[in-house]
């Protein structure tokens, strides 16, 4: 996979920019992030394939992917929002211009990959016939029963409200960051937000993720979209964690033997009115990413279930982040 290295440097840089790393990131860093993301995607695909095989199906479905991240409720919630909006757009497109099926992808690009934005085109379509379809999870209550009945208008899902809290927090953070931006900067920012591993790079992504090797070669479009969303999430998470690591490191340096570096770090951490130009900051290094990854791989409490039962394999499985 060495030849795959650096395929997504731009996208990763854009994503990191959106996540809060303003400085130019070294190639080494992006490569590391890319490899991490690649590993995660492959792992996800492998596990989903195993799950599908357990059901007796060769092709993985979206449910398999969602099942893999089921414990992260916030992420699941975001994913569902993303999927529902995707459906909305698709149906809207279908109804609006029935003939131009090929153009659908073009229209789709504007905000499709950024469900976190939340605002935008969906507002107008809310009351229309193409209302947002809820993406059901396979373990929802409705799955308890043999008969599937259509939902009704007046039911509200309190769960969704709660789940979107994390999303809203992230939106708020982005909002804060864009407050002081001028038009060009905001344009750049919003362009960066559209960065995706998959959008319009389907073939590249398939090769990169090892489709056909770890799983069926012809996955569903939905799966690719979900993977795109998840990769974006991974990069964001890694970047945020790496920034935290870096902040701690900077604080430690400042305390041990501070130089001018520390001031920059401190200010950067809390962006304010009199921040120095962002170029002055040192970007996140590979070691920060590594440390962030290590932290994210730390086993959580639930992995202790039945830890006393001796198992054959002591190698810890990769944790999906």
């Amino acid at each position: 996979m060495a030849e795959n290295k650096g395929k997504y440097r731009t996208e990763i840089q854009q994503m990191m920019f959106v996540s809060g790393e303003t400085a130019d990131v070294a190639l080494e860093t992006t490569s590391m992030i890319e490899s991490i993301v690649q590993q995660q995607v492959m792992e996800m695909l492998t596990r989903a394939t195993v799950l599908a095989a357990r059901r007796g199906v060769r092709t993985i479905s979206t449910d398999d992917l969602i099942f893999l991240i089921r414990h992260d409720r916030a992420k699941v919630s975001r994913l569902r929002t993303f999927l529902s909006w995707k459906d909305v757009r698709k149906s809207a497109k279908d109804s609006d211009d029935k003939g131009g099926a090929d153009a659908a992808a073009d229209d789709f690009d504007l905000t499709a990959n950024d469900p976190t934005l939340g605002t935008g085109p969906s507002v107008g379509t809310r009351n229309s016939k193409n209302k947002k379809a809820k993406v059901g999870l396979p373990w929802d209550v409705s799955s308890f029963y043999s008969e599937q009945v259509p939902e009704r208008e007046d039911e509200e899902d309190e769960e969704e409200d709660e789940m979107t809290a994390a999303t809203l927090a992230r939106l708020k953070q982005a909002d804060e960051r864009t407050k002081g931006m001028n038009a060009e900067e905001y344009l750049h920012f919003s362009e960066c937000r559209q960065a995706s591993f998959t959008f319009r790079k389907g073939k590249r992504f398939r090769e990169w993720a090892g489709f056909g090797v770890v799983t069926d070669s012809k996955p569903n479009d939905d799966i690719v979209d979900i993977l795109g969303f998840l990769t974006y999430e991974i990069v964001t998470l890694l970047t945020e964690e790496a920034l935290k690591v870096k902040a701690i490191e900077d604080a430690h340096k400042r305390e041990s033997g501070g130089d001018e570096e520390k001031r920059g770090k401190k200010r950067r951490r809390e962006p304010g009115l009199f921040d120095p130009p962002e170029e002055a900051r040192t970007p996140v290094g590979a070691r920060h990413i590594q440390e962030a990854f290590r932290r994210l791989q730390q086993p959580d409490l639930k992995s202790r279930y039945l830890s006393h039962v001796p198992k054959g394999n002591f190698q810890r499985t990769l944790k999906l982040i």
Partner: protein, 1097 residues
Amino acid sequence: MSQTPQRPLPNGLHRAASALNGFARRAPSLSRDASAAGSLGAPAAPGDEEEREDDPVQIMLKARFAQAETDIAALFGHDGQRARTAAPSPSEAHAPTQPGPDDSAKTSAPPKKAARTIDEDDYGDDDDEDEDEAEQQSPLKTKGKAALPNGVIPAAMRSPAPASLPHIARTNTSASTEQAKSSEDVRKQLEEDKQAAAENAKRAFQTMFFTFENDRDAMLEQQKLDELDREVENEISGDTNASPNAQATSAPAATTQGTLGSADLGASSLTLKHLIARIDLKRDMVRASDNQLRTLISEVRKGRSKWASEDRVGQEELYEAAEKVLMELKAQTDSVQPFLQRVSKREAPDYYNVIKTPMDIGTMIKKLKQFTYKSKKEFVDDLSLIWNNCLKYNTAPELPIRRKALHMRKETDKLTPLIPDITVRDRAELEAEERRARAAEADESDEEDEPIMASRGRKAPKKGGKSGPSAARKAPPSVEVDDQSTPQPDTKPPIHASASGLRNEYLRADSEAQDVSSAGFNTPPPAGTSTPGMNGGSGAHGSQADVMEIDGIGGSALGTQQEDADEDDADFKTWKQVTMKDRAAAAAERNRLFRGEHLNPDEPAILRSKAGMRRWMRQQKMLSADKSAQDADDAADDGVGATSETLAEGIEKDEDSTLPDYYHPLSSIPDMNSNWAWITDSEGYVVPQTEEYMRMFPKDTFRTPGGALAGRIEGNIRQMQETRKICAKIGIVKQMQIQAQTYQNQFQKYDPEPFAEADIGPVVVSEEGPLMAPWVCRAALKRSVGKVFYHAGFEDFQPSALDAVTDVAGEYFRKLAENFNCFREQPKIDAVTPKFNYEEQVLHSLHESGIDLEGLETYVKDDVERLTTKLSVVHERMKAHLADLLRPALGDHAGADGVGAFNDGSEQFVGGDFAEDLDEDFFGFRELGLADELGLETLSVPLHLLQNRLHSGYQAQNQGPVSATGMLFTPPPAYDAISVETLPNHIGLVQDFFREKLRKNHDETLVEDEDLPQKQRFPKPRLPPTGKISSPRKRPIREQQQAAKKKRKLEEDSKLAPPVGKLKLQMPDARENGAEPEKGDGHADGAMLSPESLTAN
């Protein structure tokens, strides 16, 4: 002072003999009276000088003498009775034996008492001696003789009584009778006292626990006593065996087979004389031996003591009393031991240097059985000789043997007054005297016969050489006389001491005793009985110990104090004396059971007997009765005894035992808990009482505790079940919409039962704490896991999955508990403060197991509480959907009764939608002008009115509950079926019609259409799924065929026939069809409106 034995006179006075027999029959009471009388004036002198040299203990004992005396008196009465009843001896041998020469010849042969065949040569000697005796006895026996006849009976019976008993007559004054009477009263009172004392003692036995440690001694002593008896018996029998041989020459005729009459049958010879004479006549034909015959006859004649003899007046009474006294003394187990047997030379070499006339109780018994004693005095003298010998030999005052001797002498003094002062006399002698006293008096015929018998049967006790020594032996009556020169004083000690045969016999007896007793017990050497001689000189403490050891009182550790204490304790003493025999028996029993240190496997098993249990119960009852009243005690005892007898009649012999209940642990019946009783209620069912006394495992431990979370989960589960019910209905509706045909049992009704957790059955546990039943616990956990499964949305699941998850959960909980225990048992920081408090323990263990409070809370909030709302939402949704499916238009806008559903254009009513689009008058309503007439926008029919099939299908599904509700009103009785018989009851209009029908039905009873079998029924009109009524009502196939045929005919006819005729023909056609509905060919007349007409268009 030599007293010669009484001899029967050769010319025996038969009359007197018969009189004596009469006395003998009431011998017990007489003798008792006599002894009582004797006790009045009996001198209790001979203890004075000894008491002077008593040691302090003895003086102390004196203080308790009065109390002990009553006890002893009680014992006397008790034991005396027992001894008398317990010893039916076959021996009526008169022959005095000489122990010395015959000992070697002694065998263990049964005593043979054929010695009655005595030659009459001795009579001459007897006469001489009798005269002496008469002279000597007269002063002595006055008192005794007074008591003997008691004054009353002889006088009343016959006048010559005083004459027949000259000595008695002499003293038998009125005064003496009074004295006798008063003595009788005293005697009675004494006896009552004794009995009362015995009763008290018995009661005390039950309330006081006496240890078993003395039982062994009792057994050994008893063995010794038995041995003594046996020995005496053997000696006597040896003599009797020897004597016939000796006499064989003198009386050869009598040896081989004596006449029966010659055998001493006692008084039986009088009453049974004819029988005896007869037997004698045919003696050679009777195959039984003399002995057998004698025992047979004595069996027949009961009530005679073994001492009874018609030849010897007073013997029975004297010997009864004497034996009683001896038994009594023998029962003084503590003290009598050294005096039971002769002092052997080995033990005390110099004994016979000091003591010239030795005496012991064994010898006395022997003498008693050999009828050596002629008077009370001889007997008493022998007794005191024993004690005095001992005192004389053992001079050291601190010797315990002295105390024993003194004690025994005191006992003897107490007892001797009870012996009647009787001198035994030969009947012959008496009669001779009588005859001498009275002149020649005419004898009656009965008395004539008697002498023949008497003379025949009278056998003089054989004496020869024997009478001499025995008389000599009895000659020294007291110690004082001991040193005096008696005719043959020196001959006797050799006889006793030096007789090697006797010695051998002792040894043999010892070995026998050793055989009998098991290995664990060593019978003390016979020397033990004669320790006085051995230890006489030393008097040291060690010798005391020796004495104790030999006596076998539990070892040398027991000192004199112990013994004193024993003697001090009146209860204990009483206990020992009263129960000695029984205790000995019990100890022997036990002894048999154990060989060495081990159980003897050859012994029969110990079984509880009914008699034992009965006795135990009686004792218990007696004890409880004791609490109430003393007076009622006796009556209660009698009552108890009576009841127990009735209870146990004929089952087992109920032997009386003086031993308290703890000697018979096998017989005791434990108290039964009242809860164990078999109680039945009024219907006869057994009332179970288990719950009241058993420790039941608490209920509901194996069920889900009713917490808030559990309640919520239960609610969720119920909600799911309800929703699933609706789901099932939806499924049915959908299926019916798809399927063209449905079957009656195609759809199973889904009616889930609510979950109910069964508790475990009643379980009895032995202690508090959890129930250790892994399979039950696992089952309970499995149930919980199953509920969690259901709660998670699984309607059913594979058992293997359930098992697997149960195992995992069990393992997890085990680990959790282990962790918790680990944290709980961390060493404490200091004495009181644990390292972790309870919260920390719980939290730590949870954390160790990979769970935290947030996780739990999240689960409760998300997976339980939120699930509740979700479930209710889904439930509402399902309900709405089902309602939509069933009545599509009956939404919220439809109004209360569904009328509103017609208002919104009725697009949903499928009935005519497409037809309207095509501008088609689907039902033909428009053409009919219904729309205008009724003001309707459209003329489509609501679907749910048309969906007959759906409705009926649903109804079939829900038939159960509907029918279960029951009918409000009972249906009216069915009409009578129409038959030929009932036809006239109907109105005339229909009669013809029905008659027609009946005729078609071959005059059978008509059947209603509803009651027809399914296949013959007319099909009901139905609207097909298309909603279009296409054909007229279906007719039965037969009718259809007929109709088709007719139609064809008609068509043909119409072609042929003129139109006028057609009309005419049609009518009869219709009539011919009869049952054919009127609508059949309706298209002919368009004026009639019917649905069918609509279809025609």
